[in-house]
């Protein structure tokens, strides 16, 4: 078996929060990512799903080293990115690109679309002006925009069109791995299908690896080889997409799957509507973080943290209902 492209171990990010009392240092923090470990194999797509605020974007930004972790390691091709010297990190990060969740905030409004897409090439001094221009036009086509768009500015584009520009930018340096943080959430269905077809085609052609964050479980099922389900900073279940969809183990995953929107106005879906609001990441619940909302809660759940167990078929989950395979 080949080596993992990316190896993440016990990754944590705690954001300190300001004390409400001025000049008094707060010792509280938001445990945005709280001990996450996973491997990503070359050419595979790992899906990451989970509730809003559970730490998916923070995890993505840690992997890409846009922010540094409180502890833990991120190995890319066997080398730890944490503490790597700046020059080498810059070179390595060419191979790890990111497409952000927010298509509005991520494009400099003063640059034309052509300049924006060419920017990574200019920064890394790749090719001459003519070849850069050719590449820009090529990418515009790939992402479903037209050549005349190169001369326009981001504000002239709708949300969906802007996300296509972001995808073109991420592709321009021919990366090994692209972390896609909700890349198609802002796109209309038909364009979403084009972009997903495109991402899959590119993956086959260049053996690209993806970490694919999305809250659309239909998209994730279609895109991903394996899926990690996060809850309040931790991975609570991980397995192949077939295992997760056909044989979910964790009660949270079950609730998630039941919340997939209707496929027709005539559908009468049985929903597991979860109790209460999402828990507070500053003071996470004791025991299993999910216990307050779990329909299957037992006494042990509020006192003891369940560990990730191997339930067979490369499927792991953390719930007191489960037994080791």
């Amino acid at each position: 078996m080949s080596e993992p492209l990316l190896k993440v171990r016990d990754l944590r990010k705690y954001f300190p929060i300001d004390s409400p009392i001025p000049f008094k240092k707060s010792n509280q923090s938001v445990k945005a990512v709280d001990g996450v470990s996973f491997d990503v194999m070359p050419g595979e797509t790992l899906g990451v799903v989970g509730e809003s605020g559970c730490g998916k974007s923070t995890m993505a930004r840690l992997v890409n080293q846009l922010i540094s972790p409180s502890s833990g390691t991120v190995e890319f091709r066997g080398e730890n990115l944490i503490g790597m010297d700046a020059k080498k990190l810059r070179e390595t990060r060419k191979s790890i690109q990111m497409v952000f969740q927010d298509p509005y905030a991520s494009l400099d409004p003063r640059k034309t679309v052509g300049e924006l897409i060419a920017e990574p090439l200019v920064i890394h001094r790749i090719g001459d002006k003519a070849s850069q221009k050719k590449r820009v036009l090529e990418l515009l086509e790939i992402v479903g925009l037209s050549h005349y768009h190169a001369k326009r500015y981001p504000y002239e584009f709708s949300g969906g069109q802007r996300q296509r520009i972001n995808i073109a930018r991420a592709l321009v340096l021919n990366p090994d791995i692209i972390i896609c943080d909700e890349p198609v959430s802002a796109l209309d269905v038909s364009v979403q299908a084009q972009v997903i077809n495109l991402l899959k085609e590119l993956q086959r052609e260049y053996n690209l690896t993806y970490i694919f964050i999305s809250h659309d479980l239909n998209v994730v099922r279609y895109m991903c080889d394996r899926i990690a389900v996060m809850y309040l900073g931790k991975i609570v279940e991980m397995g192949t997409y077939k295992e997760i969809y056909e044989n979910p183990k964790h009660p949270y995953t079950k609730a998630l799957l039941s919340a997939i929107p209707k496929e027709s106005p005539h559908d009468n879906k049985e929903r597991i509507i979860l109790k209460d609001a999402i828990p507070n990441p500053i003071h996470p619940p004791t025991g299993c973080h999910f216990h307050e909302r779990c329909p299957f809660m037992m006494d042990i759940c509020s006192t003891k943290i369940p560990q990730l167990l191997d339930t067979g078929n490369g499927h792991i989950a953390s719930c007191h209902l489960l037994k080791e395979h």
Partner: protein, 343 residues
């Protein structure tokens, strides 16, 4: 009290830059009854957000300009109101959840201040009451530990939490009409299910009508009664959700429904897409705006714009071949297998 809350007639919105004019919205009409929800779907750039922001007269002018039509809200044409009268309507009778939660929250003020500001703007309450109400609203939309979060700034919230703050602000005045532009796009499905549940509850309680802009047809099936399908600034199909789901008629709507990823789509299949891209709205469009991408198009489609026809009761379509007399036969959805497509 008339049952009709909103009637939009032939709305036209243009953007001017130098000598070019972008026809972003080109004759949109629909009606919305009290307690009724309408979904607006359509390709990116088709004019959904511009339509919605025009209803509140919040189009940046210049370059934007509402160049024609009527927006009758409870019988009054909003386009004839003074700025002051319009301000009273915004946030009291009509409120809007904008597509972009990051830029609609001010980064330099705490989230709590912004909610309280909006409450105090529209309701005569003390600071303390406003704070209580803000906490209550945050709780309602499912923000944990609202008392603590009140002092936090927008960048400290996740995308979904910011969106829920926007929803809290929009709901804090119990509007008659709520315009929600992609309100659940940034949310995960369990929260989406909760928010849609919340919107339904609010609707029962306050008789609110909702205009729901979304690209997720699942959301439309979930809470809307009617759907407006837009393409290149035009409404191309309009009807009840049952009609549009069961008997869609416009070739663009067919493409839209076919490109959804549903449970029945296998992962080795290519997704169906609509080839090509939408027209440049700065250019004059002569025929049917969908013609260049339509696999059913014939000569007439490129020279004459089809009119909106009521082909069945309360089901309107703008296609030359979908009329009371004629019907177009929908082609089978092509399910390519990936490996085959590649060669």
């Amino acid at each position: 009290m008339s049952n009709e809350l909103l009637k939009v007639e032939n709305l036209e919105v243009q953007f001017k830059s130098g000598s070019t004019v972008t026809k972003a919205v080109n004759g949109v009409s629909f009606t919305l009854n009290r307690k009724e929800n309408i979904g607006i779907v359509g390709e990116s750039g088709s004019g959904k957000s511009v339509t919605a922001t025009s209803l509140l007269r919040l189009i940046p002018t210049p370059p934007g300009n509402i160049s024609g039509g009527k927006i009758l809200f409870e019988g009054k044409d909003l386009l004839t109101l003074s700025d002051k009268e319009m301000r009273d309507i915004r946030g009291n009778d009509i409120s809007m959840i904008f597509q972009d939660p990051l830029t609609s929250l001010n980064p330099v003020f705490s989230v709590g201040d912004q909610i309280m500001e909006s409450i105090k703007l529209h309701q005569k309450v003390s600071k303390k009451e406003a704070k209580q109400k803000a906490i209550q609203m945050l709780q309602l939309v499912g923000i944990p530990a609202p008392e603590k979060r009140l002092n936090m700034y927008p960048h400290e919230f996740s995308g979904g939490m910011r969106q829920r703050v926007m929803i809290a602000i929009a709901l804090s005045c119990n509007p008659k009409l709520l315009i929600a532009d992609e309100p659940t796009t940034a949310l995960d499905v369990t929260v989406q299910a909760q928010i849609l549940e919340l919107m339904k509850k609010l609707q029962d309680e306050f008789n609110t009508s909702i205009i729901m802009i979304t690209h997720d047809l699942g959301v439309v099936w979930e809470i809307c009664h009617k759907v407006l399908v837009m393409y290149a600034g035009n409404v191309i199909e309009y009807g009840t959700v049952e009609e549009i789901h069961d008997q869609p008629m416009h070739p663009y709507t067919w493409g839209l429904l076919d490109s959804q990823i549903t449970e029945s789509v296998e992962d080795h299949e290519m997704l169906t897409t609509i080839p090509g891209s939408p027209p440049d709205l700065r250019q004059e469009i002569k025929g049917c705006p969908f013609a260049p991408r339509c696999s059913y198009a014939r000569d007439i489609c490129f020279s004459k714009a089809p009119e909106m026809v009521e082909v069945k009761e309360k089901h309107f379509v703008a296609c030359h071949f979908q009329t009371k007399e004629t019907r177009l036969n929908r082609k089978e959805r092509s399910t390519h297998v990936r490996a085959v497509v590649k060669s």
